[in-house]
Symmetry: C2
Subunit: 352 residues, 2 copies
C-alpha cells in the first residue's frame, strides 16, 4: 500500500530517516566514548528500542513503570527509570520488574529513598539508585552538589539499595554550567568515599554537544529518533531529518485563504513551538496551522502560491513528536512511500 492510500489522520514514520537519526547519534556517542541510553517515551515501540540496542545503546530509559514493563516483556534487559517511584502499588511493581531485568531508578528526596529501602530490604540484588540533580532546568532534582552527597549517603546506608551515581535533565544550551555542576557533585561524592558509577545526562537538543559535559558517562536522548519542529527550532538538524509526520486530509476550504484539516489536537496535540502555528505542512511550507480543536486544524493559506483542494492529503511535522506517539494506537512504517508495516504503539497510554 502507498502512503497516500492510508486513511487519515494517521502517523507515518520514514524508516530510513529513523535509521539515519539513530546511526548518527550512536556514531557521535561512540566517537566520544559516551554511552547512549535512549529514552523510549518518544516512540514507545519495542521494535525501535531493540534497534537502538542493536546499534550500541547500553540500555533504554523509560519515564513510567508501565512503559518499562512493556519493554521488559519485549525482551529489553537494561532499563533506567529516572523518576521518584512513590506508593506501595508502584513499589511492588518495581520489585517485580527488578527480578526480571537490570533496573535502575532515581530519586531527589529522602521519603522516596525510604520507600525504596522499605520495599527492597533484604533483596538478593540491591536496587541501583541515582540521585537526580537540578542543574538549571527547574523541574525535579536536588538543588546543590552537597544535597546530592547527603542523599547518596542515605541510599548507600540502606539495606537493599546501592548508590549508582547522579543524573540530570539539563537546561538547554548550558553544557558548561551542567558540566560544572556535575563535576562538583562527583568531586564531593569522591571526597565522601562514594563512587558515582554513572553520571547520566539527557535531552536531544544538546545531543551533539553532549560530549562537552565531560562529567557525563551516558546520555539519554529521546526525541532524536524522530525529531520534530521544536527540535529544529532549537537548532537540532533540519526539517528534512524529521521522520514522523501526521498524514491528514483537507476536509474543508471555507474561504480562499482557509483550509481545515482532519488533524486536530487529538492528532497533533496542542504543544506550541517557537515557530508560529501547530506544525509544519510539508507540501505547503508557507501555510500556518493557526488553530486546533480536537478534530479540526484551521490553516491560513494566505501566503501560499498553490492551495490544496478538498480530499487532498498532506503531511504535517508536529511541534512535539513524543506526545503524538501517545495519541495513536498504531503507526505506519514507510520506505519510499510504500507502507512496510503497521505497528501497535505497545507502550502508549501507560500512565502509571
Amino acid at each position: 500500500m502507498k502512503t497516500g492510500e492510508l486513511d487519515t489522520p494517521t502517523v507515518v514514520i520514514d524508516n530510513r530517516l529513523v535509521e539515519a537519526n539513530l546511526q548518527r547519534a550512536q556514531a557521535y556517542a561512540d566517537r566520544h566514548g559516551l554511552k547512549l541510553r535512549p529514552h523510549i517515551k518518544t516512540h514507545k515501540l519495542p521494535l525501535f528500542a531493540k534497534r537502538q540496542i542493536a546499534l550500541g545503546a547500553v540500555g533504554i530509559t523509560c519515564q513510567k513503570l508501565g512503559e518499562a514493563e512493556v519493554m521488559a516483556d519485549a525482551g529489553i534487559t537494561d532499563i533506567f527509570i529516572p523518576y521518584n517511584i512513590v506508593g506501595s502499588s508502584k513499589l511492588e511493581r518495581l520489585a517485580a520488574l527488578h527480578r526480571r531485568v537490570t533496573l535502575s531508578v532515581s530519586t531527589d528526596n529522602a521519603p522516596t529513598i525510604d520507600g525504596y529501602a522499605a520495599q527492597f530490604k533484604g533483596a538478593v540484588a540491591p536496587l541501583p539508585v541515582l540521585v537526580e540533580c537540578d542543574t538549571g532546568a527547574g523541574r525535579c532534582g536536588v538543588q546543590s552538589p552537597q544535597e546530592a552527597v547527603e542523599l547518596a549517603r542515605r541510599i548507600e546506608a540502606a539495606d537493599g539499595l546501592r548508590f549508582e551515581g547522579v543524573m540530570t535533565y539539563p537546561p538547554r544550551g548550558k553544557t558548561a554550567e551542567v558540566d560544572q555542576w556535575l563535576r562538583e557533585a562527583v568531586r564531593l561524592l569522591d571526597q565522601a568515599g562514594l563512587t558515582a558509577r554513572r553520571v547520566s545526562n539527557g535531552g536531544s537538543p544538546d545531543l551533539y554537544s553532549a560530549a562537552e559535559v565531560t562529567a557525563a558517562t551516558e546520555h539519554r536522548p529521546g526525541t532524536y529518533i524522530y525529531s520534530d519542529r521544536m527540535q529544529v527550532s532549537f537548532g537540532y538538524g533540519s526539517l528534512s531529518d524529521c521522520a514522523l509526520t501526521v498524514l491528514a486530509s483537507v476536509v474543508s476550504r471555507p474561504t480562499a485563504d482557509r483550509a481545515v484539516l482532519d488533524s486536530g489536537s487529538k492528532a497533533l496535540a496542542a504543544d506550541t513551538s517557537p515557530e508560529p502555528g501547530y506544525g509544519h505542512i510539508v507540501e505547503y511550507p508557507d501555510a500556518v496551522v493557526t488553530a486546533l480543536s480536537e478534530e479540526h486544524a484551521v490553516v491560513d493559506l494566505s501566503r501560499c502560491a498553490n492551495k490544496p483542494v478538498i480530499g487532498e492529503k498532506v503531511r504535517i511535522i508536529p511541534n512535539h513528536v513524543c506526545v503524538v506517539s501517545n495519541l495513536f494506537d498504531t503507526v505506519h512504517l514507510v520506505e519510499d512511500d510504500e507502507v512496510i508495516a503497521r505497528i501497535p504503539v505497545a507502550a502508549r497510554g501507560r500512565v502509571t
Copy 2:
C-alpha cells in the same frame, strides 16, 4: 476502594456531579422546547451517552465515525456526525453505519456532497445531510446564507441524500449574531422551497443562553457533562460543578516553593486557559501549575499557606477536559469518595 487509594495519575469522575450537570441542562432544554443532542467527545463513554438519552436527549453527536461506531455497538440509535466525511474508506463505513442507526452528517462544500451522493446513490433510505454554517467561529462552514441555499439545493438534487437542515459551531457569547445568521438562512431556504427540519447549534459555554438562538431546534453541548477550568473562566458554572479531576501524587519537593506532580501533559494535556497554569489544584487553590512535561507537572507553591508533602495525593481540574478523556484507557466513577466503577473509555483514540 476509596478514591485516595487509587494509583496515580488517574481520572476520577464524581457521579453525582455528572448527574446534576446532565439534569440541569436537560431541564433547561425542556423548558425552552429545545432538543438536546449531547456531544460525546467529552466523555467517550457509552454509559453516559445512554444516561443522556434516558434523561431526554434526542440522540447524540460524535465527531468521528469511529466514535459513532462504538456508540452504535453500545445500542445508541440516533447519531449525528457534524463533519465532512471524505474518502472512500470512510464513506463505506458511513454507509454501513447508516444501515444500523438513524444517522445524519454535515457538509460545507460541493465535493463532499458529491462523495456522499456517489456512495448513497440508490440507497433505500436517503442520508440526511445538514449544511454547516460559519456563523463567526472561523472553522468550517459556508460563509453566507446564500451559499447554504446553494449546497442545500445540491444535496436535495442528489439521489440517496436528503437535505435535513443547517448547523453551526458558534462563536462564544454571540447568540444574537448567530441567531440572525441562522434565521436568514432558514428564510432563504424557505423561499427556495427547502425546509430546514433541523437547525442545530452547539457548545457548552453558551448552553444556558441557547434559547436566545431562536432559530435553533437543537443544541449539541459536550463539555457540560464534566465542565472544566476553561468553561468556568467563560462563565459556565463554578469550579465546584467540575465532575472530572485528575488524581495525582506529589513526587518531588525540590525547593520550599516548588512541588512536582506525576501528572504531566500525558495526563492533563497542554491546553491553556484564560486562567494561569495548567489546571486548578483543588486542595491547594493558590498553587499554580507553571509547566508541564509529559510526566511532570511543576507547581509554584509560593502563594500557598500550607504546602503538600511527598506522596500526598491531590486532585486537579484540567483546563480542557475533553482532551483528558482521550488520554486515559480507563476512568473511575466515584460517589462520596468511594470508587463505584472502573470504566474503559470505549471511544478513546478513535482518530478516523
